[in-house]
Every structure is written in C-alpha cells, then in structure tokens.
C-alpha cells in the first residue's frame, strides 16, 4: 500500500507517521524536506521518481570547521575571494530526481550561481558567491534536504588530481591517420600503371608519410618506452616485438618511397597502432563511482572539535596531540586512540571489523580510532596522534607502497618471449637463404618477416578477453580493478576468508534459548520489555522474537551496563547480564542475555552469527580446487558452529590482529601459495594488500570499502566460485586466440619468406587477423558470461 510508505524517502511509516498536505511522511525530517521543496516550487522532484529522498540527519555543529579559511582553501578548486567553486561527493545521488534537485540548488539559496552533477562520480560541483553565502551554508543546505556531502580526510590534499586523457588523444590521432592513409593508399593497391596515378603517386606517398609521423612518434611512443624498459630489465615483453614491428614498418616504408621501390606499408603501420590502442582503451574499464585505493583517510573526518578551557574550537585532525580533549558528536568518527571521559558511548566499529553491533563503553575505557559514536555527545582525551593510532599504524606497513602488478608475469608476456625468439630466428634464416640465392631480395625479406610477424593479434587477445570479462563481471556486481586482477584470480590456489561481516551477514543474527520454557504471559512481558530498551542486544532480540500484543508496562527501569527490569500486572522480569538476574557466571565466549521472572532464573539467550546464504554450498564447491582458511579477529566462540557448517579441511584461525592476518598470508605466499583474500573491514586492509588478489565484500558498493583489487556485492557472495572459474576459462580463451593468431602469422610468414609480401597483402592480413581475434574473444567471453548467471 502506498499509504504506508513515506512520500519522501519511501521507508515504511510506523506508528509515528505524519500526514501533511495529504501525504504521509515517516518522520519530521522528511516532512521538512518536502516543505522546503514545495515552498520553492520544486515538487517536480517527486514527479521524476517516486520517493527519491533521504531523511536528513541531525548535523548540529558538525560542519563548524567549514568556516575556517585554511580548510575552505583546501576544499575549493577555485577561490578568488568572491566566487568559489567546490566539488562535493554525495553518496545519496542515485536517480534522475537527485540530478534535478541538485542542479536547481540556486532556487533554494540565491548565493549559489550554478551547480552541476556528475552522476557517475556521484558528485556535485557548486559555484557560489562567497560574499552572500559560504561553503558551510551550502553544505548545511545540502544536508537539510537529505543530500549530506561526505567530506573526509581524503579531500584534504593540495592540488586536484589531473585526469589523464592521453590515451584518448593517441587513439584519436591514430584513428585519424589510419583513415586518411587508407584513403590515400587505396589507388596504388591495384597497380594499373595508369597515367594519372603515375603522376600523383609521389604526392600521395609523401602525404601518407606525413600522416604516419605523429602515429609513430606520439601515438606509438608507449610501446617504444615499454620495450626499452623491458629490455633494460632483460625481459622480452610483448611490447618488444610490437616496437620492433612499428620501427621496421616505418623505416622500410620510408626507404621504399625515397628510392621509389613501392608505396610502403603506411596503411598497415597506422592500422596496427590504431588497433593496439583500441585494445588498450577497451581494457580500461573504470568504475568512476568506486575507488580501489581507499585507506583510512577516506573514512576519517577533516576536522574535529577540541575543547580547551571550556571553549569548543574545530581543529584539523592532523593537529590532534596527546592529551587533547575532544568532543565527538553523534555519528562522528573517533579519529585517534584515547580514553572516554564522559558521555554515553556506544561505538560502532563496523568500519574496522565489519561487526555492526555497537559496543558500549564506560568512562575511563579505551577508545580506538575508527569507531563511530552512535548515541549523543561524548568527550574523550586523545592518547595518540592520528598516524600513531592502533588502526592507522597498519598503513605504515611497506605492503601498501608495493605495486602488485610489478611482480607478475602475464601470460601474454610469457608467450611473447618465445615468440620474439622464434620470429627473429625465422627472419635470420630466411635472410641467409636469400643472400645465397638472390641477395637483392635479402633486406626485403628480412623486413617483411618482421612486419608480418608483428604480434598485433597476440597483443589484442588478452585486452579484449579481459576487458569484456571485466564488463560482464561489473554487470554481475563484481567490480574488478583491472585486467591483470582477472589473470591473477585464475592462478589462485588458496582462499582465505575473514569471518565477521564477510561470511556472516551484518543484518541478521540468530539467538538460541536455553533453559526453562517461558509461559505465554512471560513471553509477552519479555517482548514488551525489550520494546522499551534501546540497547543493541535488546533491539536484536526484539526483532528475533515472535510478535505479541503490545501492553503498557507498570514499571520499567534500565540499569546501565547491567540490564533491564520491568513489571506488568503481577509479573516481574529481569533481563541482562548473569550477575544482574542472579545466575551463576559461566565462561562462555558468545554474547548471552539472561532472563529471570519473579526472581526465579529462567534461562538465557545465546547469540550466534548468522551466516550468509549459500555459505556451505560455496565452501563445498571451493574445497575441491582450493585450500580454505578462515582468519578471524574474533574469539573462538563460533568454532563449533563453523565446524558443522564448513568442510572438514577448512582451517579455522581465531584472535588474529590486522598485522597477524598480513603476516599469515605472507608466510603462505613464501611457501608458494597464491592467495585470494576475501574481507570487508579496514582491519583486513593489510591482508587484502598482501594477498595476490584481495576482494572486499560490500553490503552497499556505494559506501566505503578498503583498498582492494576487486569489490564484490554481498548479495553475489555465493557466486564467488563461478567468478574464479570464469577467470580460469578466460585464460583458455586467450590460449585459443593465440593459436588463431599464430595461424595468420604462419600464412603471413609464408609470403614474407618467399619474398612476395606486397603492401596490399599486409594491409589485408594484419587487420583481418586482429579483427578475427577480437570477434572470437568477444563471442567466447559473452558465452562465458551467460553461463555465470
């Protein structure tokens, strides 16, 4: 029913629904946004998409730091005192209504002159007049309409990242030259010795030469650079034969036209570079809304409120010193390790551990950086600076400065090594033969072999296969950073999982009751008592229990850190810790909630993790081909449960600190294991970086996940086996396209060795081999993709 859902955000309206203007809203926040929009004639927002909004959050004082000059300076990309331009990242952008409302911000605040949305990157670029409004006002306006920008420490860096568009330029130049050269070389393909042709062919040839210059020296320069780097390291990578081919093509063609020997191979030359760059371009699939490079900076705020002599001042996070008194507001992140001074602290460490259950802290307890406060204000004293906190220290490990690709030999490069040697020997052999038979043809044959053997098709097989698979995976919500990740995924032999948040689901947990069974009146009492409590365990238990009538309790009292006490009619109930209800303390590792009624101990609820759907199935599929390990930061409380659920050979290791996880993987890699790590929280960041392939599992890909090689949507977790299998099959596809490309090469080499390689043959053979490889890989990967679904 429409009535039950909020007109603004689409959430289900519970008992507190507000009716305004004949529309239902779930809360006051949503109603206020609607009011703002209707006052400004912006209700069109709701016509474009039903219920597009988000509930605005309470942000009182949260953005005070945006009034500081030095912070404004860092966040704006243009600032001349009056006009300022800032680009703000807004995670909530998700539909056309969002674009519409954000591009009409000037109707809500006349100080804003224009705003432009980039939907893919989920950001909005706001131009405003600093005299009439300010960055802080803009951010508060955005927050008040439910589009709260996400400003993190990551934004706090000087200079804007330059977009590298050189590949598009190169591709443009190569394509432009290729088209024109084809056009100019066409007349000479049919060597008819016609009068006009004879007269103008020199002009045509020199024009082709001119067009090929930027192709060789600009568009193709990466191949020369890469080949040179490879040779210096003693590697015969795929770019060596390509660079050799380009160079020989260019020199031979230039000689041909200078000495009037023929029309040259400029058409093949420009075509070759164009196709190669096209492959490179195709391989480059980027997900602009995802980032694979995040570290703790993307999670941390820029500024925090410091209390000094009773005065609150916003300071930059990097300026936090030991002993500073900090004020953490609701929904704010703790930036540094410290001690809780006062306030009701319920910390959500889900960024760090993946565990979404909040942890209650008492005054004097230690707080670790990375936790998020969830109820009201707290005050804390910093013990360490940001860089030296327990969590952030992980990033000083040298594994984060390494590039995984550098230590990996791709299949293409492995093949190209042998290929180059074979081609060079054929060229030498053929030339020696022709020197003896007809020395005038020797140079001709030598260059022809190098030209025709240029491994264009070979170089295209991998980019097109992986590029296409990258897109198919992306559609199936498995976002892979780049092509080499797929290749590494195919070589995996060990799969390591994090526990909390990875194989368990954040959303649900299960509880089992042990003890004397409760009567129905006791169950009603229990459910109603839990209803009044905001403690996370009470909320979880409340959701698990069956529905009962709502009754109003006679007495209700919450004892902080102990439990709840309530009574209804003649019954009295106590829910909480063992000591609170008067039970014997037992040493169990799992979280338990004890219950007693009328001072008589009844029993306890024990909470267990709820595992993701299809977990055992996935592990049973994986166990045939891979070693399986579970590395958990938690205690061993779930050991028995996991043993029942998972195949017997799965190793279970508990109590692992972030560093331990990293070292564990490193140790196994030194023994030859190729490790796939599946994790989710920041505490897995080290392990994800150390592993051969690190996959971050994410409930919502738009929120943050740690630096990794691939991001997998949590709903597709049970498909993991199919993704690995598809990667392995992609390698087979590439091998078959190599066979195809060798066939073309053998035909070409026959023409070259016998000294009859005419430009027209090269011009047909080279694009034909490239195109057939591209067609083959595209069809094969699409078939592969259809099987994953």
């Amino acid at each position: 029913m429409d009535q039950d859902n909020c007109f603004h955000c689409g959430d289900v309206c519970d008992s507190q629904a507000i009716t305004f203007n004949e529309k239902t809203f779930c809360c006051n926040g949503c109603k206020t946004v609607y009011e703002i929009f209707s006052e400004n004639d912006l209700t069109c927002y709701y016509d474009l998409q039903a219920a597009p909004g988000a509930t605005p959050k309470d942000i009182e004082g949260k953005y005070d730091f945006l009034a500081q000059e030095n912070i404004i300076e860092k966040l704006t990309e243009f600032n001349d005192g009056t006009t300022q331009i800032a680009t703000l990242y807004i995670p909530h952008i998700h539909c056309s209504s969002c674009i519409w409302i954000l591009e009409n911000l000037n109707k809500l605040n006349p100080g804003i002159s224009s705003s432009q949305v980039n939907f893919g990157k989920k950001n909005v670029r706001v131009t405003y007049n600093a005299n009439t409004t300010s960055l802080k006002e803009v951010v508060i306006l955005l927050s008040s309409i439910g589009y709260e920008p996400y400003i993190s420490l990551d934004d706090f860096k000087t200079g804007k990242a330059q977009v590298n568009r050189s590949l598009i330029y190169k591709l443009g130049i190569a394509g432009f030259a290729f088209g024109n050269v084809m056009f100019l070389s066409f007349p000479e393909y049919f060597q008819v010795g016609e009068f006009w042709l004879e007269q103008y062919k020199y002009l045509f040839r020199w024009l082709m030469f001119t067009f090929s210059l930027p192709v060789v020296f600009y568009a193709g320069q990466d191949y020369f650079i890469s080949a040179y780097k490879g040779l210096r390291k003693g590697l015969l990578n795929i770019d060596v034969p390509i660079a050799l081919g380009i160079a020989v093509l260019f020199i031979r063609s230039t000689m041909d036209i200078i000495f009037d020997l023929g029309s040259g191979f400029f058409d093949s030359l420009t075509g070759l570079v164009f196709f190669l760059l096209l492959g490179k371009f195709f391989q480059q699939k980027t997900y602009s809304f995802l980032s694979f490079e995040r570290d703790y900076k993307s999670y941390f705020p820029i500024a925090i409120t410091k209390i000094e002599n009773g005065v609150e001042t916003p300071i930059q996070v990097y300026d936090i010193k030991q002993g500073d008194r900090l004020l953490i507001r609701n929904e704010e992140l703790i930036p540094a390790d410290g001690i809780l001074i006062n306030g009701n602290a319920k910390i959500d460490y889900s960024f760090v551990t993946g565990e979404s259950k909040t942890v209650s802290k008492q005054s004097g307890d230690k707080l670790f950086a990375g936790g998020k406060q969830t109820t009201g204000l707290i005050e804390m004293e910093a013990l360490k600076s940001v860089e030296h906190s327990y969590l952030t220290q992980l990033w000083s490990h040298d594994v984060f400065s390494k590039n995984k690709e550098d230590h990996f030999t791709t299949l293409t490069n492995a093949i190209s090594k042998r290929f180059t040697i074979v081609v060079l020997s054929i060229a030498v052999l053929a030339t020696t033969y022709w020197i003896l038979v007809d020395s005038s043809k020797a140079v001709n044959v030598f260059t022809a072999v190098l030209i025709i053997a240029c491994p264009c098709a070979l170089a295209l097989a991998a980019p097109f296969t992986f590029g296409n698979l990258l897109r198919i995976f992306g559609k199936l919500k498995f976002y892979v950073k780049n092509a080499s990740v797929i290749e590494q995924l195919a070589e995996i032999n060990t799969v390591i999982f994090d526990k909390t948040g990875t194989i368990t689901s954040n959303k649900k947990s299960t509880a089992r009751y042990e003890g004397d069974s409760l009567s129905s009146s006791e169950e009603v009492l229990l459910k109603n008592t839990l209803r009044g409590s905001n403690h996370p365990l009470s909320r979880t238990l409340y959701d698990i229990l069956d529905e009962h009538n709502i009754v109003s309790l006679n007495h209700f009292e919450e004892h902080l850190g102990k439990g709840i006490e309530a009574s209804y009619q003649n019954d009295q109930i106590k829910i909480g810790s063992a000591s609170f209800v008067g039970a014997h303390e037992t040493s169990v590792l799992n979280t338990t909630v004890h219950i007693s009624t009328n001072n008589q101990y009844k029993g306890k609820y024990t909470f267990y993790n709820s595992y993701r759907k299809g977990l055992s199935k996935l592990f049973n599929k994986l166990k045939k081909d891979f070693d399986l390990v579970i590395l958990s930061g938690d205690n061993a409380g779930e050991q028995e449960n996991l043993k029942k659920l998972l195949p017997a050979k799965t190793k279970l290791i508990f109590n692992q600190k972030p560093d331990d996880k990293l070292e564990y993987i490193k140790y196994h890699q030194s023994e030859g294991a190729k490790v796939l790590m599946v994790g989710d929280g920041l505490n897995d960041a080290g392990a994800l970086a150390q592993s051969n392939v690190g996959i971050a599992l994410s409930e919502n890909v738009n929120v943050f996940s740690p630096a990794c090689d691939a991001i997998l949507d949590a709903t597709k977790f049970n498909q993991l086996y199919h993704f690995i299998k598809a990667s392995k099959q992609a390698i087979t596809i590439i091998k078959w396209s190599f066979v195809l490309s060798f066939m073309y090469n053998s035909i070409g080499i026959y023409f070259a060795v016998t000294g009859q390689l005419a430009p027209v043959i090269a011009a047909i053979l080279m694009p034909l081999s490239s195109i057939s490889v591209v067609v083959f890989t595209t069809i094969a990967t699409n078939l592969l993709g259809r099987r994953i679904k």
Partner: protein, 62 residues
C-alpha cells in the same frame, strides 16, 4: 590537372577541422561524464511545465 591538389587540400583541411574539434571536446571534459547530460537534457521541459503551473495558480489566487 591541378584540381586534384585543391581537392586533396580541401579534404585534408576538413579532416583536420574535425580532428581538432574532437581534441578540443576531449580537453573540455565532454567525455568525462557520459551519463548525466543524457538525463539533464530531459529536465528543461519539466521546469517550464512547473513554472507555467505555478503562474496559473498565481493568477487564480490573484
């Protein structure tokens, strides 16, 4: 027949004009966001409709 020089010249100039237009378009960032403009294009009508609606409303109340 020197007309061929002219034809060649024209064809190459035209090609270069398009090529430069392409480079300028890339440089201005036209290819950086290939989704939002397709949605934005549809908005103008909505806005006009909205305004006309309100003016009618205003007339009625006046």
């Amino acid at each position: 027949m020197s007309v061929i020089y002219m034809l060649l010249g024209i064809s190459i100039v035209v090609a270069i004009v398009f090529f430069v237009a392409f480079i300028v378009a890339v440089k201005k960032g036209q290819y950086d966001d290939d989704y939002t403009p397709s949605v934005r294009m549809l908005f103008e009508d909505e806005l006009v409709k909205d305004q006309s609606k309100t003016t009618i409303k205003n007339k009625k109340t006046n």
